[in-house]
């Protein structure tokens, strides 16, 4: 048996008796869990409710008569079902979650407690505004923090996620051009951009054109200058970019865009690298979304809810979506309609006022850190990423030299000749107890592996992580191909067949399907 230097077996077959199977198909505490639809007793309920005193005879034919098809669980059964399911998930609270471009940092529980105060959680978006002055104050305070941290004069709070924020920013840009009668056709996006950037630009009706990248992983300014023209509405640049690098020429990039009459939309997904250290306004940004679920620690929740407020320049501010908070003699109020002083607004992105629950969490996080702590966040995030880069850089090849910002990018050149791919390597990380890094993104780097540790990882965890990756790298170079090709061996499930899932989509349980546990036999 070989051991990692953290004392755990590095060979999966060494961690138990090879070929051992339990009699029930379970793996110790890790149980197969049937779907809620595969149980008996569908007419149970885990909620005690009285019978209604009045019927629904007034609704006549509108009343549903056919069965709906919903099983019910008692409370103990529900708890077991969901707790068992939860144990099949990786989570930040278990170990480093090094997904590049995702900023998986610690989620403080104070934020959860604050968001659950009845004064925030149990108020209605359309109560009289005189009865929600504290909620408007919270929104106004959050706006103040976001504006101060970015140096921007305005913020639209309502976008519900980062991509929704991009949509908001581009809609404001389109409205600004339209207001001048200047119908522009193109948006320029670097090849390394997140997929949401071109998707958003196309959604808003623009043709998308790519800007080339230089050999050092940055926007090719000459290519940008050549492609700019009077029909370019905006450039969308992520900074720091998705290679984890700061765009050194960012001020010049902004100047060129502005000279062509285009706006500079900054994808703020990587704001964690510079929060408190650099204000996007000082770089020439016109609009930028901020993922509250990245930089400001609101939980990712298995894929949402997020929140993506967009800071805006003075020129774009009047085109922002409603609602926004106004200060008046009667206190705070909301501009909810595109009339009066909000007359230039491009309209409404969604019902109500955005992700209030996320606003509370983000403000709780910001106040906890303060101006000093947020600056330390960026410094430690960058330090942690550079430490990982330095520790792994001797073995894993990095496409770009020099310090990185908050994430360290590697390619797959170092795996040449091993028969192991980036995907295999990532899946083998699961056997060692780690969530893989972001793979095959950015697209500009072959077999990319993008590692973002964030500032909330202690040095010991970074060392544990780097030691494991170095051990895996040694195994790959030693020709242990099976370890990688068949990985993961020790996860709740082995590698899943995504092609099968897409070829014959089964997107829901249907009554005629055989129960899962029988299918596993």
């Amino acid at each position: 048996m070989s051991m990692l230097n953290v004392g755990r077996p590095s060979r999966p077959e060494a961690s138990g008796d090879a070929g051992f199977h339990s009699l029930t198909g379970g793996r110790g505490l890790l149980q197969d869990e049937a779907l809620i639809f595969e149980r008996d007793g569908w007419d149970k309920t885990g909620v005690d409710l009285p019978e209604a005193e009045l019927g629904a005879e007034d609704l006549g034919e509108l009343v549903r008569t056919a069965p709906i098809g919903l099983p019910g669980l008692s409370e103990p059964e529900a708890l077991r079902h969901y707790v068992r399911l939860s144990q099949k998930n990786h989570a930040i609270d278990l170990a480093i979650y090094p997904l590049g471009s995702c900023t998986m940092k610690h989620n403080p529980r104070l934020n959860e407690k604050m968001a659950r105060l009845p004064g925030f959680a149990d108020i209605h978006p359309l109560q009289p505004q005189s009865t929600v002055q504290g909620a408007l104050e919270l929104m106004d305070t959050l706006a103040h923090w976001l504006k101060t941290l970015t140096g921007m004069p305005a913020v639209a709070l309502s976008p519900k996620a980062g991509a929704h924020g991009e949509l908001c920013g581009l809609l404001a840009i389109r409205a600004a051009h339209e207001a001048r009668g200047d119908a522009r056709k193109r948006v320029l996006v670097p090849t390394s951009a997140h997929g949401t950037n071109p998707a958003t630009a196309a959604f808003v009706g623009y043709a998308v054109e790519e800007i080339a990248q230089t050999a050092d992983g940055r926007v090719d300014v000459a290519d940008l200058a050549a492609k700019l023209g009077p029909d370019v509405a905006a450039i969308m640049v992520t900074n720091p970019n998705t290679c984890g690098l700061f765009e050194r020429d960012i001020v010049e990039i902004a100047r060129l865009a502005h000279a062509a009459g285009a706006y500079f939309y900054c994808d703020g997904a990587n704001f964690n690298a510079i929060v408190g250290k650099v204000r996007p306004a000082d770089l020439g940004v016109d609009a930028m979304h901020i993922n509250l679920h990245k930089t400001f620690s609101t939980p990712h929740g298995g894929g949402g809810p997020g929140a993506g407020p967009v800071v805006l320049s003075a020129e774009l501010a009047r085109f922002a979506p409603t609602p926004w908070v106004l200060h008046g003699p009667q206190g705070l109020s909301l501009a909810e309609h595109a009339t009066g002083e909000a007359g230039a607004s491009f309209g409404r992105l969604c019902a109500f006022h955005g992700q209030m629950g996320m606003y509370v969490r983000a403000l709780s996080y910001m106040m906890s850190h303060g101006a000093d702590g947020l600056r330390q966040v960026a410094e430690d995030a960058v330090l942690n990423a550079n430490y990982v880069k330095a520790r792994l850089g001797g073995v894993m090849s990095a496409p770009f030299d020099g310090p990185c910002m908050h994430e360290a990018l590697f390619d797959d050149e170092w795996l040449d000749g091993t028969g192991v791919t980036t995907l295999d390597f990532a899946k083998a990380m699961i056997d060692e107890g780690f969530h893989p890094m972001t793979m095959y993104f950015p697209l500009v780097v072959h077999g990319a592996m993008l590692i973002e540790p964030t500032e909330t990882e202690p040095k010991a965890e970074l060392d544990r992580f780097c030691d494991a990756l170095l051990a895996l790298a040694a195994a790959a170079k030693a020709g242990e191909v099976d370890r990688f090709k068949a990985a993961p061996h020790l996860a709740p499930l082995r590698r899943l067949d995504e092609t099968l899932a897409a070829r014959k989509p089964r997107l829901r349980w249907r009554p005629q399907e055989a129960p899962a546990l029988a299918a596993a036999e």
Binding site: Q127, G162, G195, F352
Partner: protein, 447 residues
């Protein structure tokens, strides 16, 4: 700083490994002109106690819905959520996990999303549902975009009973997609009027039931008229609990259902986060927005779940994606599916019946207040009433007496000329005493 584990000694040793003189040296690529020499002008860090004090002070300035008579609805409904729901969604493995891109270590999330999709499909009477949207209004806007892709037609007809915020969210996207929106005048009960507006260019009609005035409608005839003209019927529901009592949109011929699911499992939260439900016919699924979870097998032949049909999505298709959506509303979808699993069919039907009975009581009590006219005839848990005075003034007056009387329709649509219309909802959380307090106060104000 309690959330930052590195010690000064750690930092020094790490810089040594990196070979950098200082952390600032790592920021060398930032133009000197843009580097801040000192922290920005915001307060310094605070302990938990201080943050809790400051935020609690803000929270205390709000009138909590549960602390007195309360009748607001209009797209957001106050329901009781079992304690176990909030407990489960705060499990670390659910709360602090990411989108399930590594399915081998995300089966917990993927299985509940598969169960969620099945529940939503059953509830709406549709064949398939996605893994959730941001909220009901963005689901509705995406539904219109999808109808435009499916039919390649440029026109959407919105009924006058559609929630004005939903109509505006649709109009925002339609504007840039080149889709013309025909919005019918606000009307309490005029869903059938959409039929006359359908033409050969119409991609879809959007009808809400129960509508923003509370009116429940059988949309079967509208579906037939839309289909005869080659258009799709999009049914919007802002109160998911109504599906426990009313015929499902699928039964009535809907092609796409866009609904707000926050009523199940989620709190009011001042309007968000909520959870959009999106369901459609199987044949349209490759044109659908958002994430989808599907069943598959692992290398040992065991059943598992993965995100699938992702060739529709932005991270694969970039500018050719069906939508720019990246996240869903995962944790809110989890709250929804837990609450619905607890309710089951038995509990949901009983809950829906309770809501309906409660608003029947409210309607008859209001009908006895002089000058108040109940406008909604067939309702689920919300009604519109006409007052003999501007609704905003009445609501403000009653708020000063600690009664939150509902939502003036003019708050949603100031130009509709319905300043005297008030929307009131009642749910299982409404006490009979709340109804008595409201009617007594109204009698006093309107006398």
């Amino acid at each position: 700083m309690r959330y930052l584990p590195l010690t000064p000694d750690d930092r020094a040793r790490m810089l040594g490994v990196i070979g950098a003189a200082s952390v600032d040296a790592l920021f060398a690529d930032v133009p000197a002109s843009a580097r801040l020499a000192a922290p920005v002008d915001l307060p310094a860090h605070l302990g938990e106690l201080e943050v809790e004090r400051a935020l609690s002070a803000m929270a205390r300035k709000n009138r909590v819905a549960g602390e007195g008579p309360f009748f607001c609805g209009a797209g957001a409904y106050r329901h009781h959520v079992p304690a176990s729901v909030d407990h489960i969604i705060q499990r670390s493995e659910f709360l602090t996990s990411y989108t399930p891109y590594q399915p081998e270590i995300a089966q917990g999330t993927l299985q509940y999303l598969y169960e969620f999709q099945t529940q939503v499909a059953a509830l709406t009477g549709m064949e398939v549902a996605n893994a959730s949207m941001y909220d009901g209004s963005t689901a509705a806007a995406e539904a219109v975009m999808m109808a435009h892709r499916v039919t390649r037609r440029p026109r959407a007809v919105l009924s006058g009973g559609l929630h004005p915020h939903y109509a505006e969210a649709i109009a925002t996207l339609a504007h840039v997609a080149g889709v013309t929106v025909v919005r019918q005048d606000a009307a309490v009960d005029a869903e059938a009027d959409v039929v006359s507006a359908i033409d050969g260019e119409t991609a879809c009609v959007v009808v809400q039931t129960p509508n923003v005035f509370g009116t429940a409608t059988d949309v079967t005839a509208i579906a037939e008229a839309a289909h005869a003209a080659g258009a799709l019927l999009i049914v919007v529901t802002t109160e998911a609990v109504s599906l426990g009592l009313l015929k499902s949109p699928g039964e009535m011929g809907a092609d796409i259902v866009a609904a707000e699911g926050a009523s199940i499992g989620n709190g009011l939260n001042f309007g968000g986060p909520y959870v959009g439900l999106f369901a459609t016919r199987e044949k349209f699924i490759r044109q659908a927005p958002g994430r989808l979870t599907g069943e598959t097998l692992d290398a040992d032949g065991r059943r598992g779940f993965v995100l699938t049909l992702s060739t529709r999505e932005q991270h694969i298709r970039r500018e050719k994606a069906t939508s720019n959506i990246c996240t869903n509303s995962g944790l809110c979808a989890l709250a929804f599916t837990i609450h619905l699993s607890l309710l089951g069919e038995t509990g949901l039907r009983r809950l829906a019946a309770l809501n309906h009975a409660k608003v029947r009581r409210l309607a008859s009590a209001l009908g006895e207040v002089r000058g108040v006219q109940v406008l909604t005839r067939r309702f689920f848990n919300e009604i519109a009433v006409r007052l003999p005075a501007p609704a905003t003034e009445v609501v403000e007056t009653l708020a000063a007496r600690d009664i939150i009387a509902g939502v003036p329709f003019s708050r949603l649509a100031p130009a509709a000329g319905l300043d005297d219309v008030l929307l009131l909802a009642a749910t299982e959380t409404t006490a009979d005493g709340d109804i008595e307090a409201l009617t007594a106060a109204l009698k006093g104000v309107l006398a």
